[in-house]
Symmetry: C2
Subunit: 290 residues, 2 copies
């Protein structure tokens, strides 16, 4: 494909249509990459799509705000839906198909089978959002099976989500590889997120503390800090001092089990979730050694 | 393939080996049929294998006594394991691959993702055996994904199991068709089951009541009986009178939702489960009209 070729992707909104197209590709021997998104695309998503484009002969991007991963009091209704803009952003990237189903297409009447996510889903995000990961694993499995994907791409920003999905892929023998790509950040360090647009200008400024607190903790680790509880307490206090309203968690964990580490052994992942002006932000940093 | 050709199936006990072989077949465009069994094969299983042979270019039979579908006080330890005999029975049927993994191959350390089965799994068998269908849907999904199956075969004898699996295949977009084949019976009507061998000679004779009670109820339906509770009570009493120790359920249900039907509308399925001499037997009869 020439550098200037722009491929017009198939826009598909029916599950059967996606399955049929993908099955044809698979039977041709094509590798198929799926990048599952909820739309409101930003540079983080686009980095996943570019990696998918390099890795596989066929690239499918799904855009679906998945209701089953939202709790009853969460932001499902106000979650940003920017389909036209998303399609614009994807246009230069050479995607083969974009899957934009409506809710009824993926959750038809009588739907009641879910993926019960692995044990590590009860920690952190799962402790705060009790049915969140059940919704995530269910929709990810459905999309992977419909798209006959042989590889899928997730962002490290949702660190626990990637760990949960990785365990699901193994446990259910899904036969799909997982690649996790680095968090893409704004120039001031804030992790890109579709939810950043909820922030007021003031809160947006204060929100930079999230990454600053993580990099400070990383420096402490590099200087030899191994007290997991002390580091957690420090991150917690620093977030409150910086203007966050509350901290859901700020911890140092084993990157695979996500159990809190104390004493800390490397590699370690720092996970934080905190609230500011009604918006909940998460971020993380993996530290493998100095 | 000539009528006298006997194909030697590949015997595979590693999940990765099965996936690799099946993926190759799928990429060649072969249809792949999976017949999942727990071994202790009888004519019921063999009828599924023959149908699979007719339906698909590649036939995989799995033989795996799945621990997650047994309750803590059930018969996992004593469940019959007759692998050599099973292989003998399969030999003339022209199977392409037989998958006989050990437990660790399908449930490795850290395994903790399950399929949470659909709503209808809480009824009848699910009410008595609380985690049974979770085990069934989990292993069936795993085996279908490993074998890249495009069609799978189940026996009607486990009516609710087939209904649960059908719903799972739809809900999780598995992309695999389901065929349910008629129950194969002994000459005296007893449904073939690997568990029949648990029965003493006396209990084996009494066990024929299970099918007799079902056919009597079918005659009542043909004569116009539409009182669901009366029919259930009659079946229940007849089973006790015939020497069953207890009846778990004996009911007339909607074949799709498995909700008890009263008044009865057609089609209707009669479901029974009863215990005799420590053995639990199930059977059913679908009545679509006179």
């Amino acid at each position: 494909m020439g550098a200037n070729t722009i491929l017009t992707p198939a826009i598909i909104n029916q599950a059967a249509g996606l399955a049929e197209l993908a099955e044809r590709w698979r039977r041709q021997g094509d590798e198929i990459a799926l990048v599952p998104t909820m739309g409101a695309l930003h540079e983080g998503h686009l980095s996943l799509v570019r990696a998918a484009r390099n890795a596989a002969g066929r690239v499918i991007v799904s855009i679906f705000v998945n209701p089953t991963q939202f709790g009853p009091h969460e932001d499902l209704a106000k979650y940003p839906r920017t389909l036209d803009h998303d399609l614009e952003l994807l246009r230069p990237l050479g995607v083969d198909a974009i899957f934009t189903p409506d809710e009824n297409e993926l959750y038809p009447p009588g739907f009641s089978t879910f993926v019960q996510p692995p044990d590590l889903s009860v920690l952190w995000e799962g402790a705060i959002r009790s049915t969140h990961f059940r919704g995530v694993t269910t929709i990810v499995l459905k999309l992977l099976l419909l798209s006959r994907a042989t590889i899928t791409f997730f962002g490290q920003k949702d660190f626990q989500q990637a760990a949960v999905v990785r365990r699901m892929l193994i446990d259910l023998n899904v036969g799909c590889a997982l690649r996790v790509l680095p968090t893409v950040r704004e120039p001031d360090g804030l992790a890109m997120s579709s939810r950043n647009r909820y922030l007021s200008a003031d809160d947006r400024r204060r929100a930079t503390a999230l990454y600053r607190v993580l990099t400070n903790a990383q420096q402490a680790l590099a200087s030899g800090e191994r007290d997991g509880h002390a580091l957690a307490a420090e991150m917690n206090q620093a977030l409150i001092d910086a203007g966050f309203d509350s901290v859901d968690y700020a911890v140092a964990c084993d990157p695979e089990t996500l159990q809190m580490a104390d004493p800390i052994r490397l590699p370690v992942v720092l996970l934080v979730a905190a609230r500011i002006g009604g918006t909940r932000l998460i971020d993380n940093l993996l530290f493998e050694g100095p």
